[in-house]
Every structure is written in structure tokens, then in C-alpha cells.
Amino acid sequence: MILYELIDFDLLRVVWWVLLGVLLIGFSLTDGFDMGVGALLPFVAKTDVERRVVINTVGPVWEGNQVWFILGGGAIFAAWPPLYAVSFSGFYLAMFLVLAAFIVRPVAFKYRSKRDSAAWRSRWDWALFAGGAVPALLFGVAVGNVLLGVPFHLTDDLMPIYDGSAIGKLIRLLHPFALLGGVVSFSMLLMHGAAWLSLKTEGQIAERARSIGTKAGLVAVAGYALAGLWLAIGIDGFALVNDVVSNGPSNPLYSEVTRGGSWLSAYSTRPWIVIAPLMGFAGALMAMRGLRAGREVSTLLWSKLGITGIISSVGLTMFPFILPSTVDPNSSLTVWDASSSHQTLFIMLVVTLIFMPLILMYTAWVYKVLWGKVTEADVTENSDSVY
């Protein structure tokens, strides 16, 4: 099949790098409010009926939303196999915690209201809290570690190796900068969850959500600014040494990489990318204002814009790096040397172009069918059929 040569290899790699970002953002925008709502649950809803209202705002959609996460994993596997191999095995125990959260959360949604016992329900409420809060925090920690660089090297057979004991590797992830990343992602998703609740609920729940969401937005903006400052003065970036071979074979060891300089030098070589952090700040600030003023739809949209800006700013700043290595910079994974083959990228693009519009269409339809607030009456009148 020679069809795939219609699109150049390097262009396909950039397209798949963009799609990777789209999937991460899609995940954060949809499943992000599920996680935020889970983390807010114990604080915005006190009585059982209130909690069921909160849970049922995401009840019918969390399953579809979670697929963004699963599809993200699948797309990394298909389009960036070295990234999939290196990151998932390297963050082993952290990945296990994320998995645990993503296993317990569905079960908690589904099973919580299937028994009347208060103890049973309270246990599941905490499971929902942990299932939302833990990944919301860990994703930011992971992004922080990616910016710091990760201690792995590739053997000549391209086997990824990490040094250190099991717990040692987990603790090493908790660098202060990475923790700051966790604070940003956690507060950002709290804000997003609050924006969702302000749209989907009314009365006290919505009020509490707005109040917490405003504060969370403030923390997110401050943390994001601080992280930018930290990157400017305290953290080394990475750079490719030799000329870029953008359509060569996907073998990370063929390129030479140095550590040094700043990630932020990208803003002088590609000034246009400043639009991403500007979107991040503007979106988060406007979402905060919207939460305080009690605006509903526009607040959620601003919150989405803010998240999109914050996530894309990380990718654009690091380009072409995807996963830099601290112990052996030459092993670092970049857009030019960590992708699938030309043909696989092409086929996956065709499949994505067919199905992604369909997915967006039917997802939009489902949200339209479910449009409107969830009230206490909805829950009490349909006690047997809702969560």
C-alpha cells in the first residue's frame, strides 16, 4: 500500500502530536468535571438526597466521558508506542493508583444507591471523592515530572530501564515542582466541576459549588503563574543538538540531546505560542468571575477554555520533546523519534477522521437529551431508577 505516502511522515507526526493533545484536552474537559464533581461531593452536598442530586448530574454521562481516558491510552499505544512503553512502566505504582481510582469510581457510581444503608452509601461517597481527587492530582504531578525530565534510559535493544526501588521510584515523583503541578491540575478540575454543578444544580448545592469553585480557580491561576516563574528561573530545559531529522526512523537513540537552557526559550523562537498561557489565564479568571456572578453556560465554556490553554501550553512549550530523560538525555522521546511507522500513523488518522466526528455528534446529542437541571424531586420521584 503506497497510499500512505500521500501525507509526509513528519506532517503525520505533528498531526498525531496535536491529536494526542486533543485527546488529553477532551479527557480533561469531559471526564474532568466528573473528577471535579467527585472531589467536591462531600463538601457541596450534605444530605443523602443532595448527594444523589450531585451524583446524578454526571450519572448518565461519566461512562462516555471515561472513554476519553481509555481512548487516550489506546492512541498513545497506537501512535506513540515508545511513549506508552516508557511512561506506563516508569510511573508504575503511580499508574496503579490511577487505575485503582478509575476502577473504584465506576463501581461507586453504579452501586452507591443500590442499598439503603447509610454506612454503605457513605463508604461509596468517599470512594467517589478519592476516585475523583486522586487522578486529578496525579495527572498534574505526572505533567510536572515530564517537564522536569524522567530518569530512564533505553538499552541498545530499546528496552526502557528505570533505576531505583519500587517505593523509591514513587517518592521520586514527588518533587516540589511536580507537586505544584498536582495542585494546579487538582484546583483546575475542582473549578471545572464547580462550573458543571452550577449549571446542573440549583439552590444550596449550586451556591456551595460556586463558592468552592471560585477559590479553586484562584489557586489554579496562582499555581499556574508560579509554575511559569519556576520554569523561567529554576528548571533546565532540553534541546536537540544535531540537525533535526523529522522523517527518519523512530529510534530515540539516533538523536543527540543536551540538557540546559530554559523550556521558556520556546517563547522567543515561537512567539505565537504565548496564546496558550493567555487562554489559560483568561479562561480561568473569567470562569472565576462567572462563578461569583452566578452565570451558568458561559462559565462552563470559560472554564473549558482555561483548561485547554493550560494543557496546550505545556505541550507547546516542550515541543518537540514528549518525554525527556534526565539520566541519559539521548534516550529522550521526541515527536520525531517516538512515533509509530508512517503507515500506521496514516491508517490511524483515517480511522480517526471517520469516527471522531461521529463521536462528537452522538455525544452532543446525548448531552442535549439530558439537558436541564437535576433537582431533588428528580431523585426522590425516580428513586429506583437513578443513581
Binding site: P60, V67, I70, L71, P81, S87, L93, M95, S340, V369
Partner: protein, 536 residues
């Protein structure tokens, strides 16, 4: 790499995969049964069919959610625990997994919410369409997963690239239309349909024993037994298709399942029962049925099926041939810019056996240094555990045939005996509820254990595929999974039991109103009311 790590990684993968497959078959089958019931409701408008849809749908939901949750583990474990595998074959293997998400799982998961929450928000027909989309999504999901697994059994449409040190896709078409994948898909979804049919049959039988919800139970048995009969036949017939494709793609697995050590002149007999002995290389006390093996495996009377000893000798030749490829690969890697075209040609010529040379990595760092004993040892490694395969396969097939008998019995009783079921048969139906799960797990055991020592048959040895983790890493996650999954299992089963005990929600007023409205139209010729229960 220590063997301990590989063994623990295998244990964890096997456990989490088999646990995942406790929920998948019921999802596959029950989604379709529920969609059929809802279709009958939309066509006849009779409330009982909606109540059935909702009741079986609620059990479907309890099961579905754990299938989803444990499926995430499967997708992430390749990267977490099998990182060299992920690097080595991700270019091919990742694609079907991603397409599964795009094409199937997204649809299934997006609409399943509307299935439960959309009853009052959608028209009857729209809701039925939603239910069908969930069912179709689940089944398409299985298709792509089995295309991925089928490729591990029969790696077509791919080639090793010395520059990237991995397998790369050469033909997407071959990967998708891999005969092993197609046979496996139909076999696996049919097994799921049988599982759901046996489940619905068993629960309905329980209601008949307990003398409650008889309307629902009888109708459910009628649907389940006819659907289950078709599925049970298809499982066996298409299982045979798998056997046929194994005869030219995975000869060693087939010979091991059969406990056939020596090549027998065609047509080979089938060992119905016997005691395979790996030490003596003999199957003791074998009871044989002449010709049958030859017919199943080759669909001819003249073609030979090679025995284990012959295949082992063949493996040794392939190891030696693979060493030539390995040597050429090392030359290419040493200086890839200036390597002579002859070396690349040598590599191309022998690259199909490269994987066999990697079997030696268990014994020496550089396979080229292997001694003759080590090569012989590696060739012996290509024989999987014959005893467990032999027995697991026979138990699975035995169960498969018994499902046909069960389904015929209930189908005939439901169709021609006015839904009269002898009491013993109802008790039996309850008792056999767990058996389809046993058969399905045995099937996966045969498929995966029979592929050893490979993760990708003939391409990548299992011992090389695992991540470079510490034993402590594995022990922590193993303990985590065992605790976590056990708790979830207990909760799941207890909720299933609770909801089966509670029974369907019957809207009596609604049903009576419907009956009053339609009684004149449905009165039968013998003057009896259409809703009179058949005489007990």
C-alpha cells in the same frame, strides 16, 4: 532478567485478564438479549416486555460496570508490565486497541447512560435504537480486541525493522482479516451469548421454582433458549474453525492440545481421553477415535498433522536460521549508515526466524554465543504444557456440547410443550449457571497458555516481553489487585443476588389496563382468555 519477574508479571496478567472475562461474556450476550426483548416490546406494545427489558437491563448494568472498570486494567497493563512487548509490537498491536475505543467502546459507553436514564426522555423507538447501539458497541469491541489477540496468535501483515528495532505493520488489511482473529471473534461472542442464555435460563428457572414472576420467567426462557440454541451450535462449529486455522498457523498448540507426540500418518486419530506425559513423551492409556483429528485439523484424509517431536526439531532448525538473522542485525546496528546491502539482504532472507533466536536470550546475553545444549533447550521450550492444555481443552469441549443439549431441551419444552418444564430440569438450570464461565475461562487458558513460550507466536518470547520492574513493584500491585478485586467480586455477586431476589418491578395497574384494552382482540378460539396461565 530474572525469571521470577516474568512469572509474576504473567501471573498478574492472567489473573486480571481472567477476572475481566468474568464480566465480558455476560455483557456481550445480555446486551443483545435485552435489545431483543425491547424490540418485542416496541413491536407488540405489551408492558411485560418493557418490564423484562428493565429487569434484565438492571442485572446487565451491575455486571457491565465491572467489565468496564476491569477492562481499563487490561489496556494499561501492556505498558505497565509488558513494556518491551509494547515497544516491540505497538506499531501493530496498538492500532486495534485504539480503533476499539474509537469505533466501539465510545458508542457503547455513551449510550449505556441513556439506556438507564433515557426511558422518560426518549421515544420508544429511539430508546430501542439506543439499546441496540449499546449491544452493537459491545460486540464490535470484542471484534477489535480479538483482532489484537488474533495477531498475537498469528502475526500476519508485519515485518521487523532493523532501524527501529521493532515489528512494523506492512498490511493493515491482513491484520484485520487475519483468519485466526475472525474465527476467534465469532467463537468468543457466541460463547458470550451462551453465557447470557444460561444465565437468563437459570434465573428464570429459579422464579418458576419459587412460583413467582411466571409471566416474565416463561417469556425469558423462550427468548433465552432459542437464542442460546443458535449460539451453542455456533460456539462448537466455530470452535472447530479455530482448530482448523490452528492446524496451519499454530501447529505446536494443536499438537499439544491433542497430546500427539509423533506425527501420525494421515488421517490422524483423535485422543478422546488419555494421560499425556511430558517426560516420557507419550500419552498413556489413550482412547482414540480414528480419522477424527485429521478431519478436524486438515479437512482432508491425506494431509498429515505434525507431532510434537517433529515440531521441536523444526524449532531447532528455525533457531539456527534465526541466528543468521540476529548476526546480520547486529552488523546493521553497529554501523547502520555504511552497512553493505548484502548484509541487509541476508537479514531480510532470515528475518522470519529472528524471534526464534531470541528464545536463547533466556540462557545467554548474546544468542550467537549459545551452545548446542542451549539451543536444544530453547527448542524444547517451544513445547507448551501439554497436560494442562489437553485436559482444559477436553473439559471446555465437553461443556460446549452439553450446552447444546440443555438449549435443545428448553427450546423444545418452550415451543412444543406449552412451557411445561419438569421440576428437575428447573433445578438443573439453576445449578448450571456457573458452567459457561468455566468453559470461557478454559478457552482463554487454552489460547494463551497454548501460545507459550511466546507473547507473539514465533516473533517475541514471553521471557523478553516484560517490563524491567522490581519484584517489590509486582508484589505490591499483585496484593493490591487481589484485595481490590476480591472485595469488588463479593460486592458484585451480593448485589446481583439482591436484585434477583427483589425481582422485576411489575406495574400491575399498567398491565391490567393494557389487558382490559386488548382482551377482545386477543381472545382465543377456545374461549379462554389470552392471559390464562397454561394448566400446571
Amino acid at each position: 532478567m530474572e525469571i521470577g519477574l516474568v512469572e509474576l508479571s504473567r501471573l498478574q496478567f492472567a489473573m486480571t485478564a481472567m477476572y475481566h472475562f468474568l464480566f465480558v461474556p455476560l455483557t456481550l450476550g445480555l446486551s443483545i438479549l435485552v435489545a431483543i426483548m425491547e424490540t418485542v416490546y416496541v413491536m407488540t406494545n405489551r408492558p411485560i416486555w418493557r418490564q423484562m427489558t428493565k429487569f434484565w437491563g438492571s442485572l446487565f448494568g451491575i455486571n457491565f460496570v465491572l467489565g468496564v472498570a476491569t477492562g481499563i486494567t487490561m489496556e494499561f497493563q501492556f505498558g505497565m508490565n509488558w513494556s518491551y512487548y509494547s515497544h516491540y509490537v505497538g506499531d501493530i498491536f496498538g492500532a486495534p486497541l485504539a480503533i476499539e475505543g474509537l469505533m466501539a467502546f465510545f458508542m457503547e459507553a455513551t449510550f449505556v447512560g441513556l439506556f438507564f436514564f433515557g426511558w422518560d426522555k426518549l421515544s420508544k423507538v429511539s430508546h430501542m435504537v439506543v439499546t441496540w447501539l449499546v449491544a452493537i458497541g459491545s460486540n464490535f469491541s470484542a471484534l477489535w480486541i480479538l483482532i489484537a489477540n488474533g495477531w498475537m496468535q498469528n502475526p500476519v501483515g508485519a515485518q521487523f525493522n532493523p532501524d527501529t528495532m521493532r515489528m512494523e505493520m506492512t498490511s493493515f488489511f491482513d491484520v484485520v482479516f487475519n483468519e485466526v482473529a475472525q474465527a476467534k471473534f465469532v467463537h468468543t461472542v457466541s460463547a458470550g451469548y451462551v453465557t447470557a442464555a444460561v444465565f437468563v435460563l437459570g434465573v428464570s428457572a429459579l422464579y418458576l421454582i419459587q412460583n413467582r414472576h411466571k409471566d416474565l420467567a416463561r417469556r425469558s426462557i423462550a427468548v433465552a433458549s432459542s437464542f442460546g440454541l443458535a449460539a451453542a451450535l455456533s460456539v462448537v462449529v466455530l470452535g472447530d474453525e479455530s482448530g482448523y486455522s490452528a492446524s496451519h498457523t499454530q501447529k505446536m498448540k494443536l499438537a499439544a492440545i491433542e497430546g500427539m507426540w509423533e506425527t501420525h500418518e494421515a488421517p490422524a486419530p483423535f485422543n478422546l481421553i488419555g494421560f499425556p506425559d511430558k517426560e516420557a513423551r507419550e500419552t498413556h492409556y489413550a482412547i482414540q477415535i480414528p480419522w477424527v483429528m485429521g478431519l478436524i485439523g486438515t479437512r482432508s484424509l491425506t494431509q498429515e498433522i505434525p507431532g510434537i517431536n517433529e515440531l521441536e526439531a523444526e524449532s531447532e532448525e528455525r533457531i539456527r536460521d534465526g541466528l543468521i538473522a540476529y548476526d546480520a542485525l547486529m552488523t546493521i546496528r553497529a554501523d547502520r549508515e555504511n552497512v553493505s546491502p548484502e548484509v541487509r539482504e541476508t537479514f531480510e532472507a532470515h528475518s522470519e526466524n529472528l524471534g526464534f533466536s531470541l528464545l536463547l536470550k533466556r540462557y545467554v546475553d548474546d544468542p550467537r554465543d549459545a551452545t548446542d545444549e542451549q539451543i536444544a533447550q530453547a527448542a524444547a521450550d517451544t513445547i507448551p504444557g501439554v497436560g494442562p492444555l489437553f485436559w482444559a481443552f477436553r473439559l471446555m469441549v465437553g461443556l460446549g456440547f452439553s450446552f447444546i443439549a440443555v438449549m435443545i431441551f428448553f427450546f423444545v419444552r418452550a415451543s412444543f410443550y406449552q412451557m411445561q418444564f419438569p421440576r428437575w430440569s428447573l433445578y438443573a438450570a439453576v445449578a448450571i449457571i456457573p458452567t459457561p464461565w468455566i468453559a470461557a475461562e478454559l478457552g482463554w487458558f487454552v489460547a494463551e497458555f497454548g501460545r507459550q513460550p511466546w507473547t507473539v507466536d514465533g516473533v517475541l518470547p514471553t521471557a523478553l516481553s516484560a517490563s524491567h520492574l522490581s519484584i517489590a513493584d509486582l508484589l505490591i500491585t499483585l496484593a493490591g489487585f487481589i484485595t481490590f478485586y476480591s472485595v469488588l467480586f463479593v460486592i458484585e455477586v451480593s448485589l446481583m443476588v439482591k436484585y434477583i431476589r427483589k425481582g422485576p418491578y411489575m406495574d400491575v395497574a399498567e398491565t391490567e389496563a393494557w389487558q382490559a384494552k386488548h382482551e377482545h382482540r386477543l381472545r382465543t378460539h377456545d374461549g379462554q382468555g389470552p392471559f390464562a396461565n397454561p394448566a400446571e
